[in-house]
């Protein structure tokens, strides 16, 4: 026995054989495993289908004991199988105890009333920057195509030009629809707007992680295309159709795309100019903030898709269209500027 004391450490306790250690603690480990199995089935452990009754408060002390056993087993150089078994146990327990919990409905309500609009306001500089990247090309190409009928063909090809000329031709009674999308296909167009527009928003955001190049490209590109179309159509005199059509959903759609760009620029800032942090940490710190902007923008794009599919194409008197559009813009602006200031209304 004497050499064991020297080789396995000095304290008396450390001479405990692995078998004795296992026998002594087996009951505790089994209880731990059973509670863990119940917790796997339901998080609170209250209505566990395994029929093993326990109180959720029983678990943390057991967990701490097993952690202690793991540390002891490691320091006493017990066999790898025992160490692995205990390691598996503490890993599963750690996942249960330290899991991040959110109350989903409350979190959603809080997100839209406070988090999203206040994050927007807190990063207003990025919004201005994204807006400039979108609106300057928009105005530039808009003026160019308005003044010169040939410019539009250097932006897109003839088929595309013919398509959108048809879409906004006052002779055509189905606004915003190309010839092959003639009849009333609102649901189809709704699906198309969801897939196309929200994907563009997500990509505009995500490619901000490429040092902002993707975001800048996306904003400028969309500005050029939309400005080109707007200028060209206005020059053709389709004012009765184009502006009433786009002004409504544009409130949500264009603002949301610029907000996605803003979120992309926030990611880019973390990579290009991380300040006092390492790039990796700067990215990790700012990404959740940027994400809340994108999720808010995605919800706005969803609203835009509803309006674009089920309201914008229908022929209503033009003053009504413009009134609705003014209302939409006022809603978006007041939501982003005022929601979530001060105390929430339900408290």
């Amino acid at each position: 026995m004497s050499f064991m004391l020297t080789h396995r450490g000095c304290s008396k306790e450390s001479s405990v054989r692995q078998e004795d250690f296992e026998n002594k603690n087996k009951t505790l480990w089994n209880a731990y495993d059973r509670i863990l199995a119940c917790l796997e089935n339901s998080d609170s452990g209250r209505d566990n289908p395994l029929g093993y009754s326990f109180h959720p408060d029983d678990f943390p002390p057991l967990y701490r004991k097993v952690c202690h056993h793991y540390a002891v087993a490691l320091s006493r150089q017990y066999s790898p199988a025992l160490v692995t078994a205990l390691h598996t146990r503490i890993m599963a327990g750690h996942r249960k105890i330290y899991k991040k919990r959110t109350h989903h409905m409350a979190a959603v309500a809080r997100f839209f009333s406070v988090t999203f609009p206040s994050t927007f306001r807190a990063n207003f500089t990025f919004f201005i920057l994204a807006l400039a990247l979108f609106i300057l090309p928009f105005i530039g190409t808009g003026i160019a195509t308005y003044l010169n009928p040939d410019v539009i063909y250097s932006i897109m090809n003839e088929d595309q030009v013919a398509d959108f000329e048809y879409m906004y031709d006052p002779e055509n009674r189905n606004l915003g629809r190309t010839p092959d999308r003639q009849d009333d296909r609102s649901v189809m167009m709704f699906g198309f707007y969801i897939k196309n527009n929200i994907s563009i928003g997500f990509r505009t955001f995500a490619t901000g992680a490429l040092a902002g190049l993707g975001t800048v490209f996306s904003l400028v590109y969309n500005g050029v295309i939309l400005g080109g179309v707007a200028g060209h159509v206005t020059r053709l005199g389709f004012n009765q159709t184009f502006w009433p059509f786009v002004s409504g959903h544009g409130a949500f759609e264009l603002t949301a795309i610029v907000i996605c760009g803003m979120a992309g620029l926030i990611l880019a800032r973390a990579i290009v100019a991380p300040g006092n942090y390492k790039r990796v940490h700067a990215l990790k710190n700012t990404a959740p903030k940027a994400l809340s902007l994108v999720l808010g923008a995605a919800a706005m794009l969803f609203i835009a898709a509803v309006i674009e599919a089920f309201w914008s194409p229908f022929s209503v008197a033009i003053p009504v269209k413009y009134t609705a559009a003014a209302l939409f813009w006022a809603m978006v602006a007041s939501y982003l500027l005022f929601s979530g200031r001060g105390r929430p209304f339900w408290i």
Partner: protein, 227 residues
């Protein structure tokens, strides 16, 4: 312990160290391919089922495609800890602190796939994975997540029964541990391999062949439970 390893250590608030095996680009690429096949199958299925509904059906198909494209991994990561493809490769996604991946993190890491995929087939993602610690692509860095092997541990963890015999007194602790490990692992080894391994310790046991194997079993038994 070797310094060059793919094991990441995380110290819990209880003061014990959890060891995670980080997954590399190859197994993750395989998982991605499996997921790609599943997603393609899902899309075809949805197209067939909803295709009969005409134009409204087309709209619904597009909405489904949108959700499959962006939220298929988010859904499975939140409810299963991994997508079916990752499950098939025995991988899972965890937070940096070894807890299950949160909603924010899962959405972030999956939206940023668009950047990682650039310019083609995860070019950026591969470069960042190779350059960063813990094989993280951009999405993992931003979300603070890790892709690790989900190791269930060995199922059979019994040492081989043998009459106990005291090992030579000059074995160091890690050497004792190796003998225990040999005894536990021998279930998974062929007899030839056991002999081959036991023969290496000729200087310790003074025996060759099957006798050496049994000698090691006896030492392990002694180390495990004493006389």
């Amino acid at each position: 312990m070797p310094k060059l390893d793919t094991v990441k250590k995380y110290e819990t608030p209880e003061g014990v160290v959890i060891r995670l095996k980080i997954a590399g680009p190859v197994s993750r690429a395989c998982a991605w391919l499996v997921d790609l096949a599943i997603k393609a199958g899902l899309c075809i299925l949805i197209a067939i089922v909803l295709g009969v509904l005409g134009h409204a059906g087309q709209g619904l198909i597009l909405i489904c495609l949108f959700f499959i494209e962006w939220f298929y991994p988010v859904f499975f990561e939140l409810y299963w800890g991994a997508t079916p493809g990752k499950k098939s490769m025995n991988l899972m996604v965890v937070q940096d602190n070894c807890t299950p991946v949160s909603f924010t993190a899962s959405v972030l890491r999956n939206l940023l796939r668009a950047a990682d995929f650039f310019p083609i087939c995860y070019g950026v993602g591969l470069v960042t994975m190779v350059c960063s610690k813990d094989f993280k692509r951009l999405g993992d860095i931003a979300a603070g997540t890790l892709v690790v092997y989900d190791t269930p541990g060995r199922v059979v963890d019994k040492i081989t029964e043998a009459p106990a015999k005291q090992p030579p007194p000059d074995l160091r602790v890690n050497e004792q541990r190796t003998i225990l490990d040999f005894s536990e692992r021998s279930l998974y080894l062929s007899q030839e391999r056991r002999i081959e391994l036991a023969d290496i310790l000729y200087s310790v046991t003074g025996k060759k062949g099957e006798a050496a194997v049994n000698e090691l079993y006896a030492y392990a038994s002694w180390l495990f439970k004493g006389k």
